[in-house]
């Protein structure tokens, strides 16, 4: 009996000790992200410098939804961040985020780039672009024209199952329907100069190496290569290419977003909101533009001159939300035309 009491007393004492110790611990916020840590670290460092809040991160490539839902209410996650709109919405649909009302966020992020309920906020944008040899005289191209016979055996593209490409094909399906998309994929496959593999930068390298005459790739990779931040070798690749922002025939350029939301069971909810507000603020949006070569979502921040040199960005009218339902079918179509098996 006395032993039981002493255990209770001990527990109570340690509880008091814990709660007394809590305020002494400096404020912190935990991020689960599918973004490569190197890309967001400058932003997080700036946030810590400004607010004194410590940021802990874990980079989860695949399975963010599974991890956060398995951890349930014990999860230390405060902010959930993804590089792809589809992944962001998956988190929301699985009930892993919570609504946030913040005037600062609403002022910084245009309405189309955030959830009306406040479950998610876009933080940066990247356009699906086309790389061409520097000497090419093509000034404009549509996504549809990439499938033209002119490009037979001349196109470089990464795996059709990569989320950047399934997003593009889903957008195509939203514009033209399933049958046209299947034909489109068959023609794109016939246009491949090499297996659909590797990453977007390989498109630049392969154009420089003469393997292909056109490549589909994201805008910010060019910024990283051309600025020299990725080393001399990649600077050389970017010197061999130029970038065009393609459009859909009856629309604009496909822009995917990276974004974030506050976790449903966030233990540090206030700091989480504070972080999101910071990331959407003008100084942080400048870092997105300057260090990452992305399109800022906050109109107050300007795009990097290298990215601005591609010309005016005319965002496609079909919204990411409208494209989303076509994602899974687009992925199946990629299998159906055997997109990733190189046979040319």
């Amino acid at each position: 009996m006395s032993r039981q009491i002493s255990i209770k007393a001990l527990a109570a004492a340690s509880l008091i000790a814990l709660s007394a110790a809590a305020p002494a611990v400096s404020a912190e916020v935990n991020i689960y992200t599918t973004r490569e840590p190197g890309l967001i670290q400058p932003l997080l460092d700036a946030f810590t410098a400004e607010t004194g809040v410590t940021v802990n991160t874990v980079h989860v490539q695949d399975g963010l939804v599974e991890r956060v839902s398995a951890e349930g209410e014990s999860s230390p996650a405060d902010v959930l961040m993804t590089v792809d709109f589809g992944n962001l919405i998956e988190l929301v649909t699985a009930g892993l985020t919570q609504p946030v009302q913040s005037e600062a966020l609403e002022a910084a992020v245009p309405a189309a780039l955030r959830d009306p309920e406040g479950n998610w906020f876009a933080l940066s944008g990247r356009a699906r672009a086309v790389y061409l040899p520097i000497e090419s005289d093509i000034e404009a191209i549509t996504y549809e024209e990439l499938a033209d016979e002119e490009w037979r055996g001349r196109l470089c593209i990464r795996s059709g199952q990569h989320v950047y490409n399934t997003a593009l094909f889903a957008a195509y399906m939203a514009h033209h329907g399933e049958d046209a998309t299947r034909t489109y994929l068959e023609n794109l496959k016939a246009n491949q100069a090499r297996p659909a593999a590797g990453g977007d930068r390989d498109g630049a390298r392969d154009i420089a190496a003469g393997v292909c005459d056109i490549a589909i790739a994201n805008t910010y990779y060019y910024g990283h290569m051309a600025s020299g931040s990725s080393g001399e070798e990649q600077k050389g690749w970017s010197d061999a290419i130029k970038v065009i922002l393609p459009t859909f025939e009856n629309g604009g350029t496909l822009v995917n977003v990276s974004g974030a939301g506050v976790a449903a069971h966030a233990p540090n909810r206030d700091e989480a909101i504070q972080l999101l507000e910071y990331l959407a603020s003008e100084p942080a949006q400048k870092i997105y533009a300057e260090a990452n070569f992305e399109y800022p979502v906050n109109p107050a921040a300007e795009v990097h001159p290298i990215i601005a040199s591609f010309g005016e960005l005319n965002i496609d009218g079909t919204s990411l939300t409208e494209i989303l339902p076509y994602r899974a079918r687009a992925s199946e179509l990629v299998d159906e035309v055997n997109f990733d098996s190189f046979e040319n």
Binding site: V58, V60, Q61, G72, A196, A197, R327, D335, D340
Partner: protein, 571 residues
């Protein structure tokens, strides 16, 4: 899932069983530990099975019509091609350094293991760059042939099936070299001499005697190598070869169909297990028994002059392609990087993390793997055998899928404990296993148990049952026999398994990505993070450290292999 090394003959097993049967209490500790190992291995697979039970709509009609034909063809071509190439290189190299003696043989003996330290995804990336039309090699060829631009002349692109087969063959052959060389060293001498006496020509010995003799060893090595190839996602992604494992990923990641991914992964597991069972069944009538006599190393044929040079060149080729090439490439890129940015504190922390977690996992894998194999030796039978095979299941499941199978029960445990303590004494433990990195140790253990169980089982089978009998006759009890005979005599096998497991843990990526705690970077996740945003030069330093740390265990492994025949037979 290591297929068996030679098992003790049935007669010996019975005796061993009877002897040890006297002290049941001792055996029960091993059996209990073995059972626990099997349960730990079964937990993620069972979790996947539960997940797979969900309705997945038209998934299988889609898979059967659109995915299976190509993916199966690609997977089979890759595995058969890489398997044959790795077996040829591994067995050939093992025979070369066992049957012949020439200048440089001592170097080849250990250096042939070096590709073990190179992760396949690094190997693939390095060769993609080395052999790129913009690289020095193609540039040199163009210069010699008088072409000025890669548009005029290019070598064939290695982003193709043949490139993948070459890369996997050259990076995975050491698994086969390791097992077959041990076999040649410990077993071949007597048999080779008998064969010579019976009139088999020297040239025929390799094909008629050595190769059939090495078959169980080849089976173990090949099954380890092929499991690595089958579960790869990095190298095949670089090289544009779409295997079944890639289909598991697109089903899960792109279509949000985790139950479907679990179903495909389990179906693949069934196929792998079936293949291993068939291979064991095909060998059911072969017996490889071992005498208690001191095993003698084979008397190698001395080569000199041009023959020695040719022998050395043959032996050096796999090292050149599988290790020296990517290694020099990485040193060169890492130096450029250090010159530019210096060595970051992050990479030092990642190195410490990697070594710590890999060491912890290695210890866990050795203890549990030993228990599974030892219980099967003490009480041979269907049950203990099944326990041993079950413990090895994790190796045949793709890393990320296995990680999901671990994540769910581990997180459930963490959550329940946290909830319980919060409700009773008001203290939150947070995520005990996930938050501390213990989940990572578990994942590595579940994934690499096969290496340890297979290696230790083989090591124990080389201890003749007559030693047990002698020890017991001389009055040692079960504990005494364990500490006096079995443990010291399996030291070599334990160390070898430990080194292999350690190197594999260091290279592990998918489970580390999913299960690591906050602020935890290992060398492989650091490498992946940099490579994912296309900054390969930054990644090269992490890759180089993985390889350099891996070299030490690999050299130890090789030295041990040479010493083995002499030590193993000394009670």
């Amino acid at each position: 899932m290591a297929a068996g090394q030679p098992a003790a003959s049935p007669c010996m097993s019975t005796i061993a069983g009877r002897i040890n049967g006297r002290s049941k209490s001792r055996i029960n500790i091993w059996t209990a530990l073995a059972m626990a190992t099997a349960v730990l291995a079964l937990l993620p697979v069972g979790t996947l099975a539960v997940m797979a039970a969900a309705d997945t709509g038209h998934l299988w009609s889609h898979i059967l019509v659109h995915v299976l034909p190509h993916a199966t063809r690609n997977t089979v071509t890759l595995l058969v091609g890489a398997g044959i190439l790795a077996t040829m290189i591994g067995t050939g190299a093992a025979w070369l350094v066992s049957a012949y003696d020439f200048r440089g043989r001592g170097f080849l003996e250990w250096a042939l293991l070096l590709p073990l330290a190179v992760p396949t995804y690094i190997m693939a990336y390095a060769y993609l760059d080395i052999l790129s039309p913009l690289g020095a090699i193609q540039g040199g060829i163009r210069w010699m042939l008088g072409y000025s631009s890669p548009r005029e002349f290019r070598l064939p692109d290695i982003r193709a099936m043949w490139g993948a087969i070459l890369i996997f063959g050259f990076v995975l052959y050491p698994y086969i070299y390791l097992t077959t060389r041990a076999m040649f060293l410990t077993q071949a001498a007597n048999v080779v001499e008998v064969a010579r006496t019976l009139g088999v020509k020297r040239s025929g010995i390799f094909w008629r005697v050595a190769l059939p003799l090495a078959r169980p060893a080849i089976a173990v090595g090949v099954s380890l190598a092929l499991m690595e190839a089958l579960n790869d996602v990095g190298a095949t992604q670089f090289l544009g070869v779409r295997t079944m494992t890639a289909s598991v990923y697109s089903t899960w990641i792109n279509r949000g169909d985790l139950p479907g991914a679990a179903q495909i992964a389990l179906a693949m597991l069934v196929v792998v297990v079936a293949l291993i069972v068939v291979e064991r069944w095909a060998r059911r009538n072969q017996r490889f028994s071992h005498s208690a006599q001191r095993a003698r190393p084979m008397q190698p044929v001395r080569l000199s002059g041009i023959k020695a040079l040719i022998a050395f060149s043959f032996g050096f080729l796999p090292i050149l392609v599988g290790f020296a090439g990517p290694f020099i490439y990485l040193v060169w890129s890492a130096l450029k990087r250090i010159e530019h940015n210096g060595i970051s504190a992050a990479i030092v922390r990642a190195t410490v993390n990697t070594v710590t977690v890999s060491s912890a996992a290695t210890v866990a894998v050795l203890v549990l793997g030993f228990a599974a194999a030892y219980a099967a030796r003490l009480r041979p039978g269907t049950l203990s055998n099944a326990v041993m095979r079950t413990a090895s299941l994790g190796y045949a499941v793709p890393g990320t899928v296995l990680a999901i199978g671990i994540l769910i029960p581990v997180a459930w445990f963490d959550r329940s404990l946290d909830g319980l303590l919060r409700n009773t004494i008001g203290v939150s433990t947070g995520l005990l296993l996930l938050g501390s990195g213990a989940a990572l140790v578990y994942a590595y253990a579940a994934r690499f148990m096969a290496i340890s169980v297979g290696g230790i089982e083989a090591g124990l089978s080389r201890i003749p049952a007559s030693y047990d009998q002698a020890a017991r006759t001389l009055g040692r009890d079960a504990t005494g026999t364990f500490f006096g005979i079995h443990l010291p005599l399996s030291r070599t096998a334990l160390t070898a398994a430990g080194l292999l497991v350690f190197v594999d843990c260091m290279k592990e990526l998918p489970a580390t990505l999913l299960l690591r705690p906050l602020n935890f970077e290992s060398l492989s996740t650091l490498l992946y993070g940099e490579a994912a945003r296309g900054v390969y030069e930054d990644a090269s330093l992490a890759a180089l450290i993985i390889i350099v740390i891996g070299i030490l265990p690999v050299i130890l492994l090789a030295r041990m292999g040479t010493a083995e025949p002499h030590k193993a037979a000394r009670p």
